[in-house]
Amino acid sequence: MEPVKSRQLPILFYGLSILLIIITFYQSIKLYELQALQQAVDHPDTVTVTENTPPIVIFAKALYLDHAGKSAEAIRLYSSLRNTKDLDFRARVLHNLANSYLRDGAQHWNAHGVLDYVHVSTQVELAKQYYREALRLNPEDWDARHNLEYAWRITPPPREKPKSDFQGTKPSVFSTLPGLPGGGP
């Protein structure tokens, strides 16, 4: 007798179905996580940074803190991301880190000039260092180029060495060494 069409499903159907279900499940979880991440990036004020906080959320939080005037905390967070392996991301971190230092340095420079020499000099040098690192990673970062040039412009001139007030002559090194009273050994 000639059999009529079988109603059973081929084994390939089951294999393909299982594969597609697994991929769908995986993609759904991934999208859910990305959505949660985007939510945190969009609202960094609600985020509490912990050891497990993703770098991009820390970045958003640092940016938020910097704009809120908490530059010290922002610098701390940016610094924690400085060695990230994603080079594009690292370039962004270094750019913003340099901006934080330079903003602070420029503020003091414009307010006090050379009177605040040490602070301005330190902040500007750090900014220059991070701009250079950022530009090494991404030479096309024109904003970093502009800001680095500005950092060069406001770099305070090196302070002159104070003149020695030593008036005497030094015929022998021993004559300047402190010794025991009375010339004892």
Binding site: T24, L31, H95, R136, P139, A144, T155
Partner: protein, 315 residues
């Protein structure tokens, strides 16, 4: 003289200076070349309008006797600083044979980190190169060359008036590829579900519905057309298909008894079924034997309805 005019004069002066400098250094290099080296040339695609952070490249071509190897350790390495404002970013070199000579081509890319308030002529220092052939070392210098570094911030802008460029936003998270994958997977699953429904006769395909109901529906449509032998054959085939599907095999008239034993629920319709097979045999296998059957599809439709009714009672 306007600012633009003075700037263009400056650029022209710089270019002229560079040309003179390049010529002079080229001549000097030619005059001092050790015997196996025939020429040392250096060129740059652009040596003006360079700004802070920009990369500038140079190409050094050295033509010399064949057989010499360039000692790579004599070349500046990527990442190293050649001056306090110039770093090497890339280095690539190769050697090509040209008859009895070899031509070394060294491509160096530098990055400049120097802030200036006005265009400034800067120097890329000479590079000391060493070649070796069987222990015989030859040394030469690729001459220094100059480029003009220009400011990005206009020269006359006071420091207080410079506005810092802003921070960078977090990198955008692209989800399009994930959505695409999810869409593809869902489409694939939908296609598999449709396939399974078709294969198993699930809604909307309803192949689980009585095959006789479907056959009766087909017969009703056919019944609206003229009662011709060809239409009758189509109608009979519909009923045959329904019987075959119910039986699970192709049911011939000789197997009717067997079928009725297997599906005793249809026993009461045995005369009608027998009659159908007689008519079917006649119309399919002996259409010209003289007896002209009634080509109306009504009897077939009625039989289908009875069979469908019995099928429904069984389930």
């Amino acid at each position: 003289m306007t600012t633009n005019q003075s700037a263009s004069c400056w650029v022209r002066f710089s270019q002229f200076s560079l040309a003179v400098l390049g010529l002079a250094s080229g001549l000097t290099a030619m005059a001092e070349l050790p015997p196996p080296i025939h020429s040392v040339e250096i060129s740059s695609p652009r040596d003006f309008g360079i700004v802070m952070g920009e990369t500038l490249s140079s190409e050094i071509r050295i033509k010399m006797e064949a057989g010499y190897q360039l000692e790579a350790s004599s070349l500046p390495q990527p990442g190293s600083a050649v001056t306090d404002f110039l770093e090497v970013r890339k280095l690539a070199w190769d050697r090509q044979a040209q008859g009895k000579n070899s031509v070394f081509q060294i491509n160096l890319t530098y990055q400049v980190f120097k802030g200036v308030r006005e265009p400034e002529l800067l120097k890329v220092p000479a590079i000391h190169l060493r070649f070796n052939r069987n222990g015989h070392v030859v040394e030469t210098d690729a001459p220094e060359w100059g480029f003009t570094l220009s400011p990005i911030i206009p020269a006359k802008t006071p420091d207080e008036a410079v506005i810092l460029r802003g921070d960078l936003d977090p990198p955008a998270m692209s989800r399009s590829s994930d959505w695409r994958w999810l869409g593809v997977c869902l489409a694939g699953l939908s296609a598999l579900a449709v396939y399974a429904a078709w294969r198993l006769g699930l809604p909307p395909f309803n192949r689980r519905a009585s095959p006789f109901v479907r056959a009766a529906s087909g017969l009703k449509k056919l019944g609206k057309q003229p009662a011709t032998p060809s239409n009758f054959r189509l109608g009979a085939k519909l009923l045959h298909d329904a019987l075959n599907e119910t039986a699970g095999y192709t049911l011939f008239s000789g197997q009717l008894e067997h079928f009725l034993v297997e599906h005793s629920e249809y026993s009461q319709l045995k005369p009608d079924l027998r009659q159908f097979f007689i008519v079917s045999d006649h119309i399919f296998f002996a259409p010209n034997n003289g007896n002209t059957p009634n080509y109306s599809l009504d009897p077939l439709e009625n039989l289908c309805k009875k069979l469908a009714h019995t099928w429904g009672k069984q389930r």
